[in-house]
């Protein structure tokens, strides 16, 4: 567990360094708390992709507290920001379910890391001694099925697949039947990448969930929206629109091993109350970590 913690921290290292260095340099150059300080903090949050609205909301809250508590040490401001982010990220977040059988569906726009995350998640459950089945419901993208097959081999998990162009709902149907007869604990479903503004593709997604409703009501269901940390403000629209087509239960935030700050998750949690569950920190099979709001806040604003 300590190792996992370290990995997450490493993944977030860039984020932390960048943001803190800048905050520290900002703070040391301001003797007292004035508008310029807040302007600088605004820049830091905006360039972390937190978004205009959420940034303003965060800063308004802090300004109020600074005034009420008569704070005149600029360094205390960082502590307030950290506390505020922590509060937003952990508010009303229930623990992850461990009921079985379970079905986990990954959805999202093209290229965010759905297939890779399916592989990583499958590996996690397999390592935990669960019987895992992978469903290859991306029948659209060229060689998507082959890509997932490679992952299923790596993990050593069964895969249900049809040929390219098949109806994704039919694959889900077959996966559920197979899971029932094989006494599978967890089905993990890959789906085709789809831009959320394509109406017919969102309908296709609804069809998948209707099949699950009908064929597998007894299973605990998780629907993860996969978001690329590099994505800007469009991620909020993605979350909103996908939420209309599916009951999203959490977010998998990928590619946090880059320099993107991942601040968008603060905005999404704050505006839509969708919790981040998992974090992707690389392309290898174990580059997946639980998202821990405390670690996250600490990593962005360390002591």
């Amino acid at each position: 567990m300590a190792d996992l913690f370290k990995k997450l921290k490493d993944g977030l290292f860039k984020t932390r360094n960048n943001i803190t260095d800048r905050i520290n340099s900002v703070l040391s150059s301001f003797k007292t708390i004035d508008e310029d300080l807040f302007d600088e903090l605004e820049e830091i949050l905006i360039t972390s992709d937190v978004g205009v609205e959420t940034t303003m909301k965060l800063l308004e809250g802090i300004k109020k507290e600074v005034k009420e508590q008569k704070i005149n040490d600029p360094k205390a401001v960082i502590e307030l920001l950290k506390q505020e982010v922590l509060r937003v990220m952990s508010k009303d977040v229930a623990p992850v379910s461990n009921e079985y059988p379970q079905i986990i569906v990954l959805i999202g726009v093209n290229g965010v890391g759905k297939t890779t995350s399916v592989g990583k998640i499958a590996n996690r459950y397999k390592q935990a001694g669960k019987k895992v089945l992978i469903a290859a419901a991306d029948t659209f993208r060229a060689a998507a099925i082959e890509q997932l097959e490679v992952w299923s081999n790596r993990v050593g998990a069964d895969i249900i697949k049809h040929q390219e162009g098949a109806d994704p709902a039919a694959i889900i149907f077959d996966a559920i039947s197979a899971a029932k007869s094989r006494k599978t604990d967890v089905i993990i479903c890959d789906t085709a990448g789809r831009l959320h503004n394509k109406k017919n593709l969102m309908e296709e997604l609804k069809k998948i969930f209707r099949i699950i409703d009908r064929e597998y009501p007894e299973a605990h269901r998780e629907v993860y929206l996969v978001l690329d940390a590099t994505t800007g403000q469009n991620a909020i629209i993605q979350a909103k629109v996908f939420k209309e087509a599916a009951d999203i239960t959490g977010i998998v935030l990928t590619k946090l091993d880059g320099t993107a700050k991942g601040g968008i998750v603060i905005a999404i949690k704050s505006e839509l109350n969708v919790p981040v569950r998992l974090v992707g920190v690389g392309e290898k099979i174990d580059d997946l970590q639980d998202f821990d709001p405390v670690d996250f806040a600490n990593a962005i604003f360390p002591e």
């Binding site: 109406k199 994505t231 629209i237 590619k255 993107a260 968008i264």
Partner: protein, 446 residues
């Protein structure tokens, strides 16, 4: 729809600008606050926004308001001019080597869309009479090579691959060797996605570059990228010296501020934009039009050009006349539907029509299944009915519903929509005419 927010915001603020003569500092400052917010919400990089706003402010304050414009329109015009200038004025094309083969190397982050774009580019080049070959250098991602093969099959282009055990630089060298025999005059190299901070993998790209001297190194960027776009573009540019950029997934509803940021920090031209999942959905990037699209003016010119590509000229002229004189019939409509199917989805075209962004035409949203139904209905009409929709009385409508397997409500709806479309198309044609004469008017100020 794309950029709706920015257009609306500017419209709101600028509506308040009144008076005439010169733009005063207070008004401009207020408008610029909105411009700043909107650009940030569109993911334009913070620093780029700051520079932009101060430049526009300087230009706008004290600026004479042109006689034909309101102060608000004048500010928009200045913002648009500056935005256009920042994006670049002219369209940039792929440069071909004077000594074939031309080597195009595609680079970028994971998931940006490189492999798909390789296929689209190959198709595009084939249409220009080239004989491209796709070179499979993504030896890391599972099934990436297979994906390139499938994509190549879709566009009937050649592929060169040595599997995933050979170093990319050696694959490239062998590919050039191969091309000299096979007569392929363009090599498109698909490389693995990588993080700009991964030194080992960035060195791999540099090694390829140093060994094969590509004609064009293209950075493929997801148009939904946020503030990090500048870091990515700057890193790739510093390491490799980019020749151009291809934006992907622009058919989404992102405002695409990354395009502006990348252009501003690298000054490298954006050459193409990916506009959909089909292999033909790669379009030349028109920077000037992107600027006007950001301001919510729609992309009239693109639409017209796209239509011209697919409809022969004489037919287009006939059509334009019909539209203008409102003689446009169901017969033409059917013809149009078939043309549109050739061009790509209707919703994609609708996106480009000015005013459509404004949300007032929301009810007219069309999906491709709808087109099939509309087609069935029109096909159930007699020739006379198609040419003279006014004769469509109750009993005729009933017969059409029966014939097309739809309901009479469906038929009524189509006829009503048709009338609306006819009106809209007339306005649209008139506007196109104005624009050709240089009388560009801003649709949302009418």
């Amino acid at each position: 729809m794309a950029f709706e927010g920015l257009a609306n915001k500017l419209q709101e603020t600028l509506k308040k600008l009144r008076g005439s003569g010169k733009l005063n500092e207070k008004d401009v400052k207020e408008a610029m606050r909105e411009v700043k917010m909107a650009l940030l919400e569109a993911d334009v990089n913070f620093k780029v926004v700051k520079d932009f706003v101060s430049r526009v402010t300087d230009r706008a304050v004290g600026h004479e308001v042109m006689e034909s414009l309101t102060p608000g329109q004048q500010v928009i015009k200045i913002v648009n001019d500056e935005l256009t200038q920042l994006m670049g004025n002219t369209q940039s094309k792929i440069v071909f080597s004077s000594k074939p083969p031309t080597i195009i190397m595609m680079v970028g982050l994971q998931g940006a869309g490189k492999t798909t774009t390789c296929g689209k580019l190959a198709l595009n080049l084939k249409k220009q009479g080239k004989k491209p070959i796709l070179v499979a250098c993504d030896i890391y991602r599972p099934a990436a090579i297979k994906q390139l093969h499938v994509v190549a099959g879709q566009v009937e282009a050649d592929v060169f691959s040595l599997g995933d055990k050979t170093k990319p630089v050696d694959i490239c060298k062998a590919a050039i060797e191969h091309a000299s025999k096979s007569g392929n005059d363009v090599l498109i190299i698909d490389t693995a996605g990588r993080l700009h901070i991964n030194e080992e993998l960035m060195d791999e790209l540099l090694e390829i570059k140093d060994n094969i001297r590509p004609t064009e190194i293209m950075l493929v960027v997801d148009s939904m990228t946020g503030q990090d776009a500048v870091n990515v573009a700057e890193s790739f540019n510093q390491k490799l010296g980019l020749d151009g950029v291809i934006l992907t997934k622009l058919d989404g509803d992102t405002r695409g501020g990354a395009a502006l940021s990348i252009k501003a920090v690298t000054s490298k031209p954006i050459k193409y934009a990916g506009m959909g999942e089909k292999m033909s959905d790669l379009e030349p990037f028109h920077p000037d039009r992107m600027a006007s699209r950001i301001l919510g003016m729609g992309d009239v010119l693109s639409l017209i050009e796209k239509a011209q590509l697919n409809i022969d000229d004489k037919k287009a002229m006939e059509l334009e006349k019909k539209i203008r004189t409102q003689q446009f019939s169901f017969e033409d409509f059917l013809d149009q539907l078939q043309q549109m199917k050739k061009m790509g989805s209707l919703s994609q075209l609708v996106d480009m029509i000015p005013g459509m962004n404004a949300g007032k035409l929301k009810g007219m949203e069309v999906d491709d299944k709808e087109i099939v139904r509309v087609e069935a209905i029109i096909k159930s009409m007699t020739k006379k009915e198609r040419l003279e929709p006014s004769i469509l009385n109750g009993s005729r409508r009933k017969r059409i519903a029966l014939g097309s397997g739809t309901t009479i409500q469906d038929v009524n709806k189509i006829i009503k929509n048709f009338e609306q479309t006819r009106k809209m198309m007339k306005q649209f044609a008139d506007m196109g005419k104005d624009m050709k004469k240089g009388k560009k008017r801003l649709p949302f100020f009418r």
